[in-house]
Each structure stands twice: as structure tokens, then as C-alpha cells.
Symmetry: C2
Subunit: 217 residues, 2 copies
DNA sequence: GGAAAATGCGAGTGATCACTCGTGTTTGCC
DNA sequence: GGCAAACACGAGTGATCACTCGCATTTTCC
């Protein structure tokens, strides 16, 4: 929730304890959502995880969905920030391998540190509101990727560009699952490197001016 | 204890109607699981979708989990059959583009015709029994992919081979999501072709004898 | 035809869940 | 200190869910 909205009939006085509780509840919710999924998670379980009574939980959130909305909203906000930092105009001029580093690494890091993000954004069991915001972020990311592709291969049609961007993102998503499944450390790093290798091999022919729809063999 | 029936403690006489009902219930369950997910699906909703009373449903399945088990088991069985047909020894000798056709097409087709498969196998909300069987199938598929990779690039270490197989499968999974999201027809075909292009570009360097762990930049 | 088994029904049952409410405690402000 | 508001609690409430049970109907076998 932003603080500059004029439609706030609830000017809360106490903030220190309250904000702490909200953060505590969201953190607990992230843990439980992550392990059980949204639907199978009970509000009582969230309260228990936060060492708080159910009544206290409902003092800060009107219902279960609002918890996911708030949590998802915060994650989406962070994600958008990372996204904006990755797809800067100057980064767009980097050679492909370096561009991949600059774009992939922050995204991977974010998801490693917030595994609940994938859990919340992926399932069809999440409340519609989250799904909408996620779709918006997804579209925004796709547009950025399309921009990169257009920069590397200006000759492509919009349809081809769109398809390649979709596929690039799907590859990343699939690889992300692998990375999250790998234990943090050398194995995870190797998986990330492999993911970048996939993307590099898939995308580097674009820079050569070869048309993707023409079989080269 | 006194009854020593080895496998079938339930000799059902009537089979025509019963088997029909079971198929009907499983089909209904597939629909509802597909749209709502496993956890959010109620047994009453399955019965309603099948135009059957809740009591009738529980005459054929002891509980909700058993429905998913049976449905998942049948799908896994079909999937295993398709898998076995794809990874035949003679197919292994095909050149990579043809091998991709032979392996990818049936898998895509199966998932297009049984979208509930992904829905059931993917979520962490599914009963543990399904997850186990799915893990077994997953491991089996990975072994096959590793076999192919070993054939194309015998010089790789087991670790590299495993990582490449994992990544290949992750790419396929990601692309599969795209394919299922695309409307059936030309767009879907184009997406499948793009997926094969990704896999081809990722895997074809293996056949050239270049070592993947050496940076080529 | 008639017994027995299989099939079918749907209201009912206990458990669980999201959520509330009455009450007690802590904190900010004078 | 004292008051009001924010905070905290946890037993309780209505709804929903997975699942049952008594009974009616259909099918099979003789």
C-alpha cells in the first residue's frame, strides 16, 4: 500500500510495533506459502509460524488473500527495480555474453533469495489480483527482452521477435527452476553458467545476421 | 488374514457400468484439476462435473488422493510408453535434428492432449505418492537423455553429462509451457519449431567435439 | 421370478478453515 | 497518573470440505 493515496480512512498511530508485526507476518507467510503453496496454507499456520495469534494476524490483514497480495506486491516491486537496473540503455550496447551476465545474474539472485516469488507467481491457485500484476510484470520483461533482440537483429519481423523473446524467457524460467533446485554453492554456479551457455548459443546467431526462420543446415 | 487373496481382494462382478463410471470420473477429475489445481478441487466438484452423486464417486475411489493417484498413474503409464518408443536404440543413431523430431514431437503431443499431466506433476500441492512416481519417471527420462548425450559426446564427464541432461530437460519443460499456452494451430507449430531450434543450437556443439566447460568467447 | 451383488443417491457428520469478538495489555500523549 | 487508541489474544462461529450411511434401483445369475 502506498502512503500518498488520499483514500486512507485508517490513519494508524502506532507504527513501530505494527510495522514489525507486518514484516514478521509476511516473512512467516513467505515461508509457509513456499513449502505448502497458497491454497493449502491456512491463516492459522501463518500466525503460528509468526508466533502470533490468529486475531493479531487479522488486525493487519483483512483476509488471507490480502496477505498474498501484499507479499506479492512487495516482491513485484523489488523485481521491477532489478529489472529496470538490468535493462539500461548502456547495458544494451554490451556484447551478448556480458549482457547475459548483467541481466541473468540479478534475476537469479533475486529468485534465490526470494523463493516464494516463484511459488506465488507460478501456480494457477493464486488470487487473481496477483496473477494480473504478475502478468503485467511478465509483459514488461518480455518487452525489454524484445528490445534487446531488436537491437541485435533488427531485420526480424515483430512476430519472430516476439516468439524469440517468449522462448528466451521460457528457457530462463526453466533454468531458474534448475538453479533453485541445485544446492547453493559450486553446483548452483555451474547451473547458472550452463543456463547462460544455453541462452548464448540460442541468441548469438541473431547477431550474425542469419535469419532464424531459414534452416541453416 | 484368513483370506489369502494375493492381489485382488475386490472381485467386482459388474464391470461395464463401473468401468464407464471410473473413466467418466477420471475425465471429470482431469478437467477440474486442470482448471483449479489439486488442492482447490473438491470431490463434490468432481462428482458434479461427472454428473454423479458424491456417494457414487466414493464407491469407486476411497478418497480424493486416490483419484489423483489413479489419474496420474494412467498418465504416467502412457508417458512411459511414449518415452520408450522415442528413445529406441535405432533412433539414437539419427542425426540430431531428426532425433529431436522423434523425441520432442510425441512428448509435446502427449502433453497437448493431456494438459492435466503438467498440472498434476508440477505443483508441490500434489499427494506425495504422485510426486514419487513422477520423480521416478523424471529420473528415467533424464537417464535416457544422458544416454543420448553420451552417444553424441563420449568425452564428457558424468557430471557434465548430467548437468547438460538436466538443462536440456529444463529447456524442454519451459518450452512445453509456451507450447501449451499457444493456441493450437500455426502458432503452436511455430513455437514447437522454435523449441527444437533452441535444443539444436544448445546440443549440436556437443557433436563437434568441443568441450563445453571451455569458454569459447 | 427372485436372491444377491453392484450401482446410485443425497442428506448427514465430523473436521478444518477463514474469520470475528469480547476482553485484556501495551503505548502515546496530556 | 490517566485516558484513548493501538496491539494482542484465543475461544468461538458459520461455511465448506472430505467422506459416510441408509436406502432405492439396476444388473447378474440361478
Amino acid at each position: 500500500m502506498s502512503e500518498d493515496t488520499p483514500e486512507e480512512p485508517k490513519p494508524r498511530r502506532r507504527q513501530a510495533r505494527g510495522e514489525r508485526r507486518i514484516a514478521q507476518l509476511l516473512s512467516a507467510a513467505a515461508n509457509v506459502f513456499c513449502t505448502n503453496g497458497y491454497t493449502a496454507t491456512s491463516t492459522n499456520a501463518i500466525a503460528r509460524e509468526a508466533h502470533v495469534s490468529p486475531g493479531t494476524l487479522y488486525q493487519y490483514f483483512p483476509n488471507k488473500e490480502a496477505i498474498a497480495i501484499e507479499l506479492g506486491g512487495r516482491l513485484l516491486h523489488e523485481m521491477r527495480a532489478a529489472h529496470g537496473q538490468a535493462f539500461t540503455p548502456e547495458n544494451l550496447t554490451l556484447p551478448l555474453p556480458e549482457l547475459l551476465d548483467v541481466v541473468v545474474d540479478p534475476m537469479i539472485e533475486f529468485n534465490c533469495e526470494n523463493p516464494v516469488f516463484l511459488a506465488l507467481m507460478h501456480g494457477s491457485e493464486v488470487p487473481g489480483r496477483i496473477a494480473e500484476e504478475h502478468d503485467a510484470l511478465h509483459a514488461s520483461l518480455l518487452t525489454s527482452v524484445q528490445g534487446v533482440i531488436a537491437h541485435y537483429a533488427p531485420a526480424l519481423t515483430a512476430e519472430e521477435r516476439s516468439r524469440i523473446a517468449d522462448m528466451t524467457f521460457a528457457i530462463f524460467k526453466g533454468g531458474l527452476g534448475l538453479v533453485l533446485a541445485a544446492p547453493a554453492g559450486a553446483e548452483r554456479d555451474a547451473t547458472v553458467a550452463e543456463l547462460k551457455r544455453v541462452l548464448l548459443r540460442y541468441l548469438s546467431p541473431l547477431a550474425d545476421g542469419s535469419v532464424t526462420t531459414t534452416p541453416t543446415r
